[in-house]
């Protein structure tokens, strides 16, 4: 049986799933995408850094209309993980403004989003309320 694969390159699976960023070795700006150069200082050297798995909700919205195949409503948010902002869905919570709060503490979680025709499972991440 094939190993599950992460949904995006910046998600690391295993015993302690976490996100990794490309950090500019010159100015420490962090990016989650493949980089050509740094958007802050234009330097071209990066190192991989682990992002804390705990954070607080800096802002959110509850999306009721989305592309086909996306379950609605869902909570989209920006989570501040120790000074690095992460774009994510908030999961394992009722998608209502009565439940999602600005500033609420959340933690990273992972979950399967399906298998391809070869049986390979893809694993995505989200953030859930931290107990």
């Amino acid at each position: 049986m094939s190993e599950p694969i992460p949904f995006v390159n910046y998600l690391v699976l295993g015993d302690d799933p976490h996100l990794v960023a490309n950090e500019c070795t010159n100015c420490s700006a962090r990016f989650f995408d493949r980089r050509n150069a740094c958007a802050a200082c234009s330097a071209t050297d990066f190192q991989s850094v682990d992002i804390p798995t705990q954070g607080v909700v800096r802002t959110f919205t509850i999306v009721s209309f989305a592309a086909p195949g996306i379950e609605v409503p869902f909570v989209s948010a920006i989570v501040d993980c120790g000074g690095t902002s992460v774009r994510t869905n908030i999961v394992n919570i009722e998608a209502s403004a009565d439940h999602v709060k600005l500033g609420m503490p959340v933690k990273l979680t992972t979950f399967p989003i399906g298998k391809d025709e070869e049986g390979v499972e893809a694993i995505n991440f989200g953030f859930e309320p931290a107990a």
């Binding site: 694969i5 949904f7 995006v8 989650f32 919205t61 509850i62 920006i78 893809a122």
Partner: protein
């Protein structure tokens, strides 16, 4: 030698809404011919044209306009800058005049957008049969909806909620109240796509798109065009007294993009570049926010209008909620904002918006706005922002004695 002053000689927008019988060229030409007539000039007087249209793909809209209403061999610039496209076209013509290359030019923005539905960023069309990584995040399927949202109502909802998190006081009802103001203003604008008064209950009870933005709190996709004729100060002096009296001075024309800041590639930051543009605009024009008689700002969503009160320095930093609650931004208030009805009711045919906002301000500065005239308006500001990201600001001053 000081560079030329720039004036708007003629300017017009079409009715915004559904124009089933008109194509993109028809709309652009309707606005163009009306702007030329408004300025008392013809295509033969133009030394440059800059035009924008986003939904037409690679169509060279400037040449399409020329072929429809006057091919004179002048330089044609096709510009594309998201929701700031119209403002960019204006600025290209203004720069040409300031550089001394032209003494008169035409800027046009046009869009066919009725029924376009939700506009999103880079969503992938469909997921493949076996996981294949693509894009700069190496995602195996579209990230929109799976890792946050790309849809504009959601992106701008987060921008407004972030302001609420930072400063407090912003909630669903407050954002809905901003929308109620703009819908109320629209009842006086015959060119608006929607001009219906709406109660707070109707707005909050409408279909939720992305909390806290319900449908009437989102800019309306519609068809429309706007065009402007710009002229140099020296050329204007050779024209009739009536043309000089109706001309509107472009006291500042600013374009910025978003500087790097933490998180700006995670959620677009519409604040940095708007604040920078506003600062430059006030400096260039030699006026302050307190001198403005009216403002048309980019209320693509109700949640966006709130943050731009702050970004345009219409209020103290962090004080946008109290500023709005004071009633200042209603047409009867001390700082009328979006007396046209704003993008939420007037409509938002993307490339046309940056010129249509300028038209609204000019209409008041010329004293020609009829029932919705802001009495005695002398100075106004028009602001647009497109993701991700471009901000255009024009400060306009009446030339009437």
């Amino acid at each position: 030698m000081a560079s030329e002053d720039v004036f708007i000689l003629g300017i017009r927008m079409t009715k915004f809404g559904k124009h089933k019988e008109l194509d993109t060229a028809d709309l652009a030409v309707e606005a163009t011919l009306a702007a030329l007539a408004d300025g008392g000039v013809t295509m033969k007087d133009m030394n440059i044209i800059a035009a924008g249209n986003l939904m037409g793909g690679a169509m060279p809209i400037a040449q399409v306009i020329q072929k429809a209403c006057g091919q004179t061999g002048i330089p044609a610039y096709n510009v594309s800058n998201a929701c700031a496209t119209g403002a960019t076209a204006l600025r290209v013509v203004g720069m040409s005049i300031k550089a001394g290359e032209s003494d008169m030019g035409l800027a046009v923005g046009v869009e066919k957008l009725a029924g376009a539905g939700l506009l999103a960023g880079g969503a992938r069309k469909s997921d493949g049969k076996s996981w294949t990584r693509s894009g700069r995040y190496g995602a195996v399927a579209g990230v929109d909806g799976r890792i946050g949202t790309d849809i504009m109502p959601g992106v701008f909802a987060q921008i407004g909620m972030e302001y609420g998190h930072k400063y407090g006081g912003a909630n669903f009802e407050l954002f809905a109240e901003i929308s109620r103001k703009n819908h109320s203003h629209s009842t006086l604008n015959p060119l608006a796509a929607y001009s219906k008064e709406m109660t707070l209950e109707e707005i909050m009870g409408d279909i939720m798109i992305a909390y806290p933005n319900t449908r009437p709190m989102c800019s309306a996709n519609c068809d429309g065009a706007a065009a402007a004729v710009l002229v140099s100060g020296s050329k204007l002096k050779t024209l009739s007294l009536e043309q000089q009296r109706r001309a509107v001075k472009v006291s500042a024309s600013i374009l910025t993009s978003d500087p790097y800041e933490e998180a700006c590639q995670v959620l677009p930051n519409v604040n940095t570049l708007t604040r920078a543009a506003a600062k430059q605009a006030y400096e260039q024009a030699g006026v302050g926010p307190e001198d403005l008689d009216l403002v048309e700002l980019h209320d693509c969503f109700a949640t966006a209008e709130l943050v731009h009160y702050d970004n345009l320095m219409l209020c103290e930093e962090g004080n946008a909620v109290d500023f709005f609650k004071s009633g200042a931004t209603w047409r009867t208030g001390s700082m009328p904002v979006n007396v046209s009805g704003g993008l939420q009711s007037k409509g938002h045919p993307i490339a046309a918006t940056g010129i249509a906002n300028v038209w609204e301000v000019c209409h008041h500065l010329r004293g020609e706005a009829g029932p919705r005239q802001i009495e005695g308006a002398k100075v106004g500001l028009a602001h647009v922002i497109g993701l991700a990201s471009a901000c255009g600001i024009h400060v306009l001053e009446s030339n009437r004695a």
